[in-house]
Symmetry: C2
Subunit: 596 residues, 2 copies
């Protein structure tokens, strides 16, 4: 069953929620209006639907394999990657100086979503390259930029992020990989990195590893970590490839999902030391790595949205085709396609509403990113940066947690057939489970939301957002339709719950850290639910207006229904989460360790 990129909804988000027309007022983005967006999305859809998506199930059946230090990717991946590269897709959001297309993230994010909807395993390779580009752009020397950036932006070479070691996962303070300074200014790197996505593969000529390591004599903990570029092949001064560097893949993991994406164990320096180049200054590695991480976290959020949409589309198709049982309302005589059954509708609407809400939330975050990075006015940049920073843990945490719900419903709609691998629904369920884990687990996102994004400013940014939500509520009430009233009512209850929790989190994070952090994930889920719901409220208003103008009436009416469904079935969960956060810290931590 084929995939259709949801271009219409993506453009709706850009136009009516993210404010693409304001993005085009930012210098450099003048041409990135709706027409450009449409053209780019259509081209992207061609590649994704026609080339990348058909390889998804192949990657599951015939995963990347490892032999004698080499990784062979799924047949077809290499050729698809060539097409991806030839289309310039890697450079979509990157500076023209290095061969990129310098489009806003507001547009680029939609392309990332469809690539991931088509094939998470494939899309991971460009996602990691994006992270390497961001790090070099921000902190790399001119020499590093000159040597690596253009090749990365074209996709000729790919990137990898090397953080994790066997003893150092979420806790990077425990990183032990060493870097010894050499007389020529380079370093020799020694250590073992695990869980390195596309750490080795056969799709590109070179791999640019970004590696966290400690320079000899550096302080302990996170303040002694530096970031290095360690290329698989050294690069000659003329830009050609030189000697093989001393970094080698020793195995890849046997995983539950995203099987086509090779997850490598990399051994650095077993034969004298891998040659690495410092990025920025010594001991500031974690700071730079967070630049990559933040880009990657947003990207993983898009993976959650992408796989959710894919699961939804497959479930809808099955529900249209599968005939089983009479509808309870007698609307069809005899057995009917299961899409006629109310519970199947509820499942499909849950999948649809969640996906659209997360897409809407991510789209507004992308526009904030563009303004935060490129707007000429410093105040505007600052305000947008604060909003974007608040959104990153939600785009990552909420969208991916919900992708578990959505892909599970996708299997459920298929009944017994969903459990049979040939059907395809099970793969999304297995693939999605990594999304709540890598690039910072949901708990790590929630810690970020609690600590840096809420407690640090005493909840001010959060309260500002709540005030904006209140404005949307007023508009909904003023509109007077039943759908808008229902949305306003649920938004209000959810916003009040949010304010209660923000007060609790901001007020007690220092005095009662266990109570607050035990509620951190429920707080994240509450906030993600509300902020995605807020965008659905805005979408409802915009869709009503457009329908009244006679614009694409069927689409707009469907948006109104979907928003109302979100309000009545998903926003309704928010007050219960508030109760858990406020009451539940003590009982969460009260059990003595030996009683477990």
């Amino acid at each position: 069953m084929s995939y259709t990129a949801p271009i219409k909804d993506m453009l709706f988000c850009m136009e009516h929620l993210a404010g693409l027309s304001q993005v085009t007022q930012i210098p450099g983005f003048e041409d990135a209006g709706l027409e450009t967006a449409q053209a780019v999305l259509q081209e992207s859809a061609k590649l994704c639907e026609g080339v990348v998506e058909p390889l998804n199930i192949q990657g599951d059946i015939n995963p990347s394999s490892f032999q004698n230090g080499k990784v062979t990717t799924t047949p077809g991946f290499k050729e698809a990657y060539q097409q991806f590269m030839a289309g310039g897709w890697q450079g979509l959001q990157h500076p023209a100086d290095f061969g990129g297309q310098a489009l806003p993230k507001t547009i680029g994010a939609a392309c990332v979503e469809m690539l991931n909807a088509s094939n998470i395993s494939f899309a991971l390779c460009p996602l990691l390259t994006d992270g390497a580009i961001e790090a070099l752009l921000t902190a790399g020397s001119d020499a590093l930029k000159a040597t690596y950036l253009e090749k990365l932006v074209t996709g000729e070479w790919t990137g990898s992020m090397n953080l994790t070691e066997p003893q150092a996962g979420s806790d990077l303070a425990l990183v032990r990989t060493k870097a010894d300074p050499q007389p020529d200014g380079s370093y020799k790197v020694f250590g073992t990195k695990i869980f390195i996505t596309y750490g080795e593969h056969d799709m590109a000529d070179n791999i640019v590893h970004l590696v966290l390591a400690r320079v000899s004599g550096a302080p302990e903990g996170v303040k002694g970590i530096s970031l290095f570029v360690v290329p698989k092949f050294l690069v000659n001064t003329d830009g050609s490839l030189g000697a093989r560097n001393d970094v080698h893949c020793v195995s890849i993991e046997h995983k539950m999902g995203i099987k086509a994406s090779p997850t490598a164990v990399l051994q650095y320096g077993d034969n004298g030391g891998a040659i690495g180049y410092l990025v920025g200054e010594e001991n500031r590695g974690l700071e730079y790595m967070f630049i990559m991480m933040n880009a990657a976290r947003y990207g993983v959020g898009m993976q959650g949205i992408g796989v959710s949409d894919r699961a939804y589309q497959r479930a809808v198709q099955y529900a249209r085709d599968r005939v089983q049982s009479r509808p309870v309302d007698g609307s069809v005589a005899g057995s009917a396609a299961i899409i006629h059954h109310p519970d199947v509708r509820r499942m499909l609407m849950t999948m649809r509403a969640t996906t659209e809400a997360c897409r809407a939330m991510a789209s507004t975050a992308a526009a904030a990113y563009d303004a935060a990075h490129h707007h000429p006015d410093a105040e505007v940049r600052k305000a947008n940066a604060a909003f974007y920073e608040f959104m990153v843990p939600l785009v990552k945490g909420y969208s991916t947690e919900m992708s578990l719900v959505v892909t599970s419903l996708g299997v459920q709609v298929h009944g017994g057939m969903g459990f049979i691998e040939e059907t395809g629904a099970a793969q999304y369920y297995r693939d999605a489970k990594i999304l709540t884990i890598y690039e910072g687990t949901t708990a790590i996102q929630a810690n970020d939301l609690v600590g840096r994004k809420t407690a640090r400013d005493g909840g001010k940014n959060a309260q500002d957002i709540a005030a904006q939500i209140a404005k949307t509520e007023a508009q909904l009430l003023a509109s007077g339709t039943e759908a808008a009233q229902s949305m306003a009512q649920r938004l209000k209850a959810a916003r009040q719950a949010f304010l209660d929790v923000v007060e609790f989190v901001a007020g007690k994070a220092k005095a009662s850290p266990n109570a607050v952090y035990a509620g951190s994930v429920p707080y994240l889920m509450l906030t993600g639910n509300l902020l995605a719901g807020w965008q659905m409220g805005r979408a409802l208003l915009a869709a009503q207006d457009q329908a009244a103008l006679g614009v694409d009436v069927a689409f707009m009416q469907a948006k109104v229904v979907t928003a109302q469904f979100y309000a009545e079935h998903i926003l309704t969960q928010v007050p219960g989460l508030r109760d858990s956060v406020l009451a539940g810290g003590e009982s969460a931590c009260a059990l003595p360790l030996d009683a477990f």
Copy 2:
């Protein structure tokens, strides 16, 4: 990481919640008191922990395989089954007349849980045999009973349930398998059955297929379905095995989980007709099949509880061992085992509280089953039957839906390691997904709860249960402890939500079927959450009392904490579900079909 059967908690449930001492007042169960229960559970635990559980991961790595019409089970399964049989475990709950041990379900259910915690794939074989035994006991002729029951009760032969056909899953009205009457009173059966668990295997000498089929000339729909026994090998009059019957396995499925359990496509009658024997009367097959289904549904609920407990135990062990990051409260200097982190505690407590609550709910249901079937007083039987019938869709639906949450958290606690198959956590996540599907999807359970269990009596039974919950609330309030107050408060809010929904469901099921049935699964989740929480409220009271008496104080205090956690983190979700049920029917079904 090894499995430890939760014998102490199982006995707590039997003694303090299910009322085992009352069960022993039922004629036939006089000896089935706490001492017997303990002895049986300890023996069962030995087999499960030592023999069956170690095969679980083997079954995933080396699933059942199919070649030339034969299924070869995972190495070790056959030997383990021999031990299961030799221990008399198949006959635990079956009549002594046919070689069983005639123990109450209150005790037997605990053994079923531990077998499933150890190995769902293995446990499915006895589960299906149980269903066949129930059907024959209820509706089989004396001749059928004499021929088959003892062999099934000893486990020498196994059973299978043949309902599904390619076009007939949830909708059995579409069954097309035919049965032609023969002059000797037997039938010749023709057709294809799919998704037949243990429909073919090498663990027993014979397989007794219970098959739904239509006698030539029978009415259309569910009223024309009859039930047949079709043995793999015909049985001679002396009880020895005769000719191979004309039923053949043509393939087995490639599934996401429970891979060791062969899921067969069975072809009946390709070589002249499979010889079958009518069970009970013609055209009453569905009625008999529901006897098997009800037994099996309860059993699948136990699978959900078992796999949840297994996932919990593995996650606790990992959380104790894995050292990562400093605790937010500074209670440990430097990095600590992740069990010190509040969010890990929240995840483990969610897994623990959910599992214990579902176990408590299932245990009380089992005691009601025993009284419903064996109590000398007809009124007592009737009241208990009503309660048990109400509980079956909850034990099945809620416990299995929650097992998806629990096994997902199990992976999450493991972080990146959870996604690596070698760790074992991923298998539970994959295995569990079938539980919300087979033996009636969650939607089918929810339809049952709405239609037969709530609307049919105008909500009376549901309201009676609510009145009992109110009594528990009063006891909690009277006890005065903080934990009891918290539980009483949440129970009250949840009970009121339940009453609101019952009124809606009972009042509108006929007039607004779409609105009611669109809320059927949220209604089921709400009700399961409440009824499991109610048992946790009762458990809290009992544990407080026992602790005050000095009985096993550490265990009892842990139960109080776990119950309070359930109240504050899980019962809190109930009011939101009410809001969805009451408000959400319209938006769930409003989207035009072509807008999906």
